[in-house]
Every structure is written in structure tokens, then in C-alpha cells.
Amino acid sequence: MTKSALTVIGAKPLSEDTHSCWSCGSMRAAHFCESCGKVQPPVPVDYFSFFGLPPKLDVDVPALEKSFYELSRRLHPDLNARAGSQEQEWSLEQSSLLNDAYRTLRDPIKRTEYLLHLEGVELEEQSKSATEQARATGVMKKQIVPPDLLEEVFELNMQLEELRMNKKMGEGDPALIAEIGKQKLSLEAKHEALLQELRTYWKSWDDLVDRGHAPTEERMQTTKKMVDVLNRRNYIRNLVRDVSTALEE
């Protein structure tokens, strides 16, 4: 992840940014020259700007895919294999930037996390590697269980433990498995509800972007809500993963 200090709100879309082509001298838009097709040196921009998009969260994914394909046809190293070595290097960099940007923006969660990151907000580390790391170093991982889930999670962990013990002994307990399966469905429903909630904050954010230079206060409020939803969502996703693994084992 790039730690760019770019102010996102009000950033100029890249397409308005004109330079002249290093090769033919005509005015160009962004990544390749419109008149001679040559790949241009990469400019450090955020992923939204790379696609000429405003930093809004409700992205039209099919349209994004279309521009990804179009840009790939211009920037990919395979199509610039006969160019000079400098141009080939730009093509490699531009095309990796394109792929990184597309991968991040097409996924709703990664896109939101990326925007928060641009806003200077960091998420709690709840990834699996952080768990492993904590385990390996013997340090307790900071993990905040959402209060409303506390009881449920406690219960679920007990059941999972029982399931593992059963499996170790070579016993099956269909009732227990059915119960855990039900819990899993309920967690998945919660997960879906959180995604819906996240979409409502997307809308608030996008409205702020449309209004132009929004007050810091309002921006922070919206990002805080998104961080909260994402943390809860990550927590639930990890639970679902643990349950799936336990059931599959």
C-alpha cells in the first residue's frame, strides 16, 4: 500500500491534466499519447485518479472493467515489447499500477479500505497473519469483540472447541454440527447486513465529494462510521472463516 499524502477530496481527475507527449510532442491525456499511442512516464497518482475517477465509493464496476480492458490494450508490456527500453520500463510500471488500481477499486471492501487509507485512517489489524504473529510472539492481540456479539461469540467458541474435541476423538455429533451450521448462517446474514450499512455511508461520503471541499469535521465523522463497520465486518468474516474451517476439517 502506498502511503501517499494526497488530499483526495477535490483532487483533479487525471484526464484534465495535460502534458505533452515525450515522443511526438502533442498534448496528451494521462497514461498514453492519444495521437501517437506511446506509453508515457507514470505520474504518482492515487488509484481513483489513475482511472480518471473522483474519489467516490459507489463505483460503476462494469464501467471500471471496461476502462481496465481499454487501458490494458495500451499499457500492457506485451503490446509494447518492441518499444525502446525506457518505454518498456514505463509500460511495466504503468501496467502494474493499472492492475493494482483495478484490483483495489473493483472490490467494495478493498476500495473502502483504500479510501480510508488515503484519508489517513488506519484499520485495526485483524488479519490472520496478525493473529499468527501474536501467537508466535506470545503477545495478546488487540482484538475488540463488538459488544453486541460478545455473548454469541463466547457461545460459538465453546461449540467450536467441542466440535474439535469430538473430531479428535473420532466422534460425530450431528446436533452440534447442525447448531454450528445455523450459527454460521446467522453470521453470514449479519455480514450481509453490515455490507448494506456500509453502502449507506458510501452515499454520505459521495455526497460530501460532490459538494466539493467538505469540512474536516464531516469527513471525519463519515470515515469513522466506515471504520467501525469495516472492523465489525472483518471480525465477523474471520469468525465465518473459523467456523467453515472447523466444519470442513
Binding site: S72, H76, D78, L92, S96, L97, N99, R103
Partner: protein, 633 residues
């Protein structure tokens, strides 16, 4: 044009091929034996000269200690990775191998690294292509298993360099196959490519969209293939022999190779026959005979082919697709001829797989398509673009021996990630970074790619330097690393210590040797061809002198011809093929009128049209039929 002569090479575990896009169709270039498949076997002959292919295959049985096969299994691997292989394959490691050193294999009394052995195979293919074009070939696209890691890819690239080939792109085998397959289909949809070859298994799921071949997910096993089935059968035979005859042949390399040859034949026969009879002559004249029924055989190989199920399911899961959402399934690799494999694929993907392209050749044909795209494209490849992925996650070791993944598997390549590092001690000027590849959480369970030493960080208080390290996986799936200290703006020096593989200097040293030879070989071949032409034109001239047309030439013309003839004879005795060609051209020009007169008088002559320069050959009708029948492996 020479610069457009980019060939596509399938460097296989069992067989290798070279192909080229002729007009709008990719075709396989046959070897000097007229066959499309070059067995990936290398041996040293009695004079310690390397031989490759069918010639080397005979030596597997006669002088097994001077031959090697399935070298692809050792590419980019360390000695600790190949313990299983050593039990099953007759690889003879050099006696003086050190831990951490690149593997060296003994052939006769010489040793070779796996990239050098692969380079010998590549050089043979290069020669076939040069004969086909009548000129040097220096650029190639080489295919690798999609699931090859960075070290295995790098080793393949090194092999290309050693063989005197600039490797313009490494293409994943299943993806290459999809290019060949997609060339005449031109349709949109989701395609799964199931590629079970001699030693590797890949599954790739692609989305085809108006000429863009976008890989969504890939998975596989770089040590699973027909070889494993052969080894099962060999072991059964060896056990039988020991049980029935009390003869332990495990250490008898000739006998093992004779058995291997017989079981491979049996395996192939069992794809079309209900049963097969083995009859192998053993040392001492006794015969080992056994009848294998298809049912028994299928039961035996089930565990091997079942190992392809896990990767297929994982790839579908990663792609977020269910079997019903996959529109087509394509089979690639010789082992997909086994009916049981086809049945398994049908069950997994719930549809009849496509088998219309020759599974031995489709990868090479696809490599030729990719070579054409890189060379600027043609009408057939217009709009075609391959977007491939990295098969394994890239990670960095962080505190506690944990892997922090920075580029996830199935990310479209080129892909990059930037990490920031700082120092822990005041004045510290170096930072060590350990790069890993794999899916496991702990560093020790992942594949170590390289250790980087960031050097030359300006001395500052602990935690102040901010070193930006950029990791970039290129379109070949190979990692590049660059670093910059942000506070001073200084480029940090990176010292790479690849965990496996040859250093640049080592590769350089290997190139020179074999490259010099290759040049010499090429020169020799040119010389032989030029001299053959000299003899043709001189014979034709003798014939011309006896014809009626000769009398119609002026004395001056006759004198000129005699002078050029003398010059040709003189230069023909020398070693310079270019000078010979020049003299041939001159004589051709000088005898033009004679040839015309002979034509006029309706006397047939070989004088005209004998000027076989290289452009004529390049466009000549020497191309083989692309669908030639596979040779027995």
C-alpha cells in the same frame, strides 16, 4: 525479417517443441528427424559431446549413467527439495555438491546444472528453427507451468540465456494453450484449462472477453504428472521381479530403464485397449511377463489423478465460480489422453471436455501465438491480449517468523506493492529483508525467494530513516525489487542473494561456452550448405557448357564465366561460407544469359532459380503439418 523471427517453445518435462506463426496459423517446426516432438532427454556421446532427443533416449538404456530425463523437475530447486525425486528418478547429483549450491547432475564424468541441461534442449530446438528459417534465431517465448515459482521461472529464463536465446516472455502453459484454442474460436465466456503433462499439473480458469484472455485463478502441483504413473508401474514390476525371481534390480540402471520404456508403452496402450501384456527381457535372459487389465490400472493410478482434484476446487473457489458457471473445459498435456483422467474432469466440471487440439502440441502453438503478439501481431492475433496472474502470494518475513503477504495469489501481473522500512538502532545503515513465496502463515513453511540487504542507508537516529521498497512482479511472473530512502532521497543499494538459482556471473560464464559453440555450429552448417550449392551450380555449369547455348555466348562472356568459376572453386576450398555464397551469387549473375539461352532453346537447366538465399527459405513451403501425429514417448 530476422527481428520478427520470434519462436514459441514448450520446454516440457517429457517432450519439447518449437513453433512459429506462419501467416495466420501457428505451426510446429519439426526436428532434423522430421518429428515434431523432441524428447527432453540429454546424454553425452562417446566423445563427450551432448546429444538431445531420440538419440539421447537410446543412451538411457545403453549408457544410463551418461543420460538424464525429466530435468524440469529439478529446475529452480535446492537439494533439500528433491529428496522424493531422488528416490524415484535416476538423477545422479555431483559428489562434491555443497548445501545451498545450485544442483549439479553428473553425466559421464562431467557435471551440469539443470538450466544447462535445459539449455541443451533449447539449443536443439533453436537449431531446428534455424534450419527452418535458414538463418539465426535469437528470440523466444518459452512456456512454464502456471504454478512455477519465482526460482523455477528464473531458472527457465537462465536456460534460455545459456542457449543463446533472448527470452522475451515466459508464458504459463495452460494460458498458452488457451491462446491456441481461442485463436479459431473467438468467443466470450469462462474457460477452464486442465493441463496434466509429464511432470506438472496446472489448472487455470480464464475469462475470454473480445480477445482479452484474463486469467481469474490458477492452481496446480509442479510435481504431478505422467512420470508419477510411470514410477508406480516401475515399482510394481521391480517388486514382482524381486518376489518371483529373487532379483533386486533397483540398482541396475539399464534394467530399470528397460522396464521404464516397457511400462510407458503399456500405459499408452491402456488408454485404448482393455488390457496389455508386458514382456521385458531381464539381465540374464529371463523374461518378466505380466498382463495388466485396464480396471487394475485405473485403480492403481486413481490416487495420482485424484491429486488434481484439490487444485481444481481451490481454483474454482478463488475464482468465485461454481462448475455450472464454466462454459468450456480444455484438456492439455499427454496424460489427459488417459480415459480415467477425462472421466474425472467430466465429473469435476460437469461437462464434456474439449479434446479437438492435439494435447502434446497445443502449448507450443499457443507460445507461437504469444510470440506473434510480442512481435507486433498480425491479422490473426489482432486484439488478442493475455492478462495472466501470479500463482503464489508474495510475502515478507516479519517479527516472529510470520509471513506478511504483500501481493496475493491470483493478482493480475504485472503487480506491485510498496513497503516501508526503518532502522532499529541509531546509525544503522543496513536493513535485511527476507522475501517469501507461498500461502502458509509462517515464513518457514513458505518458499524462500531471496534475502535482500538494503545498504547505504544514511546514518540517522533509530526509526528516522524511511526506506521505500518496491516489489514488482513482471509479466513473466518474476520479482524485481528497488529501494529508496525517502528522507535523503538516496537510492538504497540492494544486494540480492537468491535462495536458489544461478548468479548473473554464473549464467554469463555458461553462455559464453555454449554460445561460442552454437555460433561455430551455425557456421559449420552454413558452410556445408554453401558447399552443397557450389557443387550443384558447378554441375549445372558443366551441363551448360555442353549445350547448344554455350556456342551462342561471346568469347568475352565465356572468359568472364571461366574467371568466376575459378574464383568459386578457390573460395569453396576455404572455410568462409559467406565468401562462397558471394561467389555463387556472382556466378549465378554471370551465367544469367546462358541460362536464358538454354531456356530459349528449351534445354532444361538447373542454372536458374538455384540461388537459395535465406529469404526464399524463410517463406518456403517447408512448414510441417501442424497436427502431425504425436510420436511415442
Amino acid at each position: 525479417m530476422a527481428s520478427d523471427r520470434i519462436v514459441g517453445i514448450d520446454l516440457g518435462t517429457t517432450n519439447s517443441l518449437v513453433a512459429f506463426m506462419q501467416g495466420e496459423t501457428p505451426v510446429v517446426i519439426p526436428g532434423d528427424d522430421g518429428l515434431n516432438l523432441l524428447p527432453s532427454v540429454v546424454a553425452l556421446d562417446a566423445n563427450n559431446q551432448p546429444v538431445v532427443g531420440n538419440a539421447a533416449r537410446n543412451s538411457l538404456i545403453e549408457t544410463p549413467e551418461r543420460a538424464v530425463y525429466s530435468i524440469k523437475r529439478l529446475m529452480g530447486r535446492g537439494v533439500e527439495d528433491i529428496q522424493e525425486e531422488l528416490k524415484l528418478f535416476p538423477f545422479r547429483l555431483a559428489d562434491d555438491m555443497q548445501a545451498g549450491e545450485v544442483l549439479r547432475i553428473t553425466l559421464g564424468d562431467k557435471t551440469f546444472t539443470p538450466p544447462e541441461i535445459s539449455a541443451l534442449i533449447l539449443r536443439q530446438l533453436k537449431r531446428s528453427a534455424e534450419r527452418f528459417f535458414g538463418g539465426p534465431v535469437t528470440k523466444a517465448v518459452i512456456t512454464v507451468p502456471a504454478y512455477f515459482n519465482d526460482a523455477q521461472r528464473q531458472a527457465t529464463k537462465d536456460a534460455g540465456r545459456i542457449a543463446g536465446l533472448e527470452v522475451l516472455r515466459l508464458v504459463n502453459e495452460p494460458t498458452a494453450a488457451s491462446l491456441a484454442y481461442g485463436l479459431d474460436k473467438k468467443q466470450n465466456g469462462i474457460v477452464a484449462v486442465y493441463d496434466l503433462g509429464g511432470g506438472t499439473f496446472d489448472i487455470s480458469i480464464l475469462k475470454l472477453h473480445d480477445g482479452i484472455f484474463e486469467v481469474i485463478a490458477t492452481n496446480g502441483d509442479t510435481h504431478l504428472g505422467g512420470d508419477d504413473i510411470d514410477n508406480l508401474l516401475i515399482n510394481i514390476a521391480l517388486d514382482d521381479v524381486r518376489g518371483d525371481l529373487g532379483l533386486d534390480l533397483r540398482r541396475n540402471a539399464e534394467a530399470v530403464q528397460a522396464i521404464r520404456k516397457a511400462v510407458i508403452e503399456a500405459k499408452i496402450a491402456l488408454s485404448s485397449q482393455p488390457s496389455v501384456k508386458l514382456d521385458i527381457e531381464l539381465p540374464g535372459g529371463q523374461h518378466y511377463r505380466r498382463e495388466i487389465a485396464r480396471e487394475q490400472y485405473e485403480e492403481l493410478i486413481q490416487p495420482v489423478i485424484d491429486r488434481t482434484v484439490g487444485p481444481c476446487k481451490q481454483a474454482m473457489k478463488d475464482a468465485g465460480l461454481k462448475p455450472e458457471q464454466i462454459d468450456e473445459v480444455v484438456l492439455v498435456g499427454g496424460s489427459t489422453r488417459i480415459p480415467k483422467v477425462r472421466a474425472l474432469v467430466k465429473e469435476l466440471f460437469r461437462r464434456e471436455p474439449h479434446t479437438d487440439l492435439n494435447p502434446d502440441e497445443v502449448v507450443a502453438l499457443g507460445a507461437a501465438v504469444q510470440a506473434n503478439i510480442l512481435g507486433g501481431g498480425s491479422e490473426a492475433t489482432e486484439n488478442m491480449l493475455l492478462l495472466d496472474v501470479t500463482p503464489l502470494s508474495l510475502g515478507i518475513e516479519v517479527a516472529g517468523g510470520v509471513t506478511d503477504k504483500i501481493i496475493l495469489r491470483n493478482s493480475t501481473i504485472p503487480a506491485s506493492a510498496t513497503q516501508f522500512y526503518t532502522t532499529q538502532i541509531d546509525g544503522q545503515t543496513n536493513v535485511a529483508i527476507h522475501v517469501l513465496q507461498g500461502e502458509r502463515e509462517l515464513a518457514k513453511d513458505c518458499r524462500s525467494l531471496a534475502r535482500f540487504d538494503l545498504k547505504g542507508i544514511p546514518p540517522m537516529a533509530a526509526g528516522i530513516p524511511r526506506v521505500e521498497v518496491k516489489f514488482l512482479i513482471d509479466a513473466n511472473g518474476i520479482l524485481h525489487v528497488s529501494a529508496r530512502e525517502q528522507r535523503s532521497g538516496k537510492e538504497a543499494e540492494i544486494q540480492v542473494q537468491p535462495s536458489y538459482g544461478l548468479s548473473d556471473e554464473q549464467v554469463e560464464g555458461m553462455i559464453l561456452d555454449s554460445f561460442d559453440n552454437a555460433e561455430e555450429d551455425f557456421r559449420q552448417r552454413q558452410l556445408i550448405e554453401a558447399r552443397a550449392e557450389t557443387s550443384t551450380i558447378l554441375t549445372a555449369l558443366e551441363k551448360g557448357k555442353k549445350s547448344a547455348a554455350w556456342g551462342q555466348l561471346t568469347t568475352d562472356e565465356k572468359k568472364q564465366i571461366a574467371k568466376m568459376e575459378k574464383a568459386l572453386v578457390a573460395v569453396n576450398a576455404e572455410e568462409d561460407y559467406q565468401a562462397i555464397r558471394k561467389a555463387i551469387d556472382a556466378l549465378n549473375q554471370g551465367t544469367m544469359r546462358l541460362a536464358e539461352l538454354m531456356m530459349d532453346t528449351a534445354v532444361s537447366s538447373a542454372l536458374k532459380g538455384k540461388n537459395m538465399n535465406e529469404t526464399d527459405l524463410g517463406e518456403g513451403p517447408t512448414a510441417p503439418h501442424p497436427m502431425a501425429k504425436a510420436e511415442f514417448e
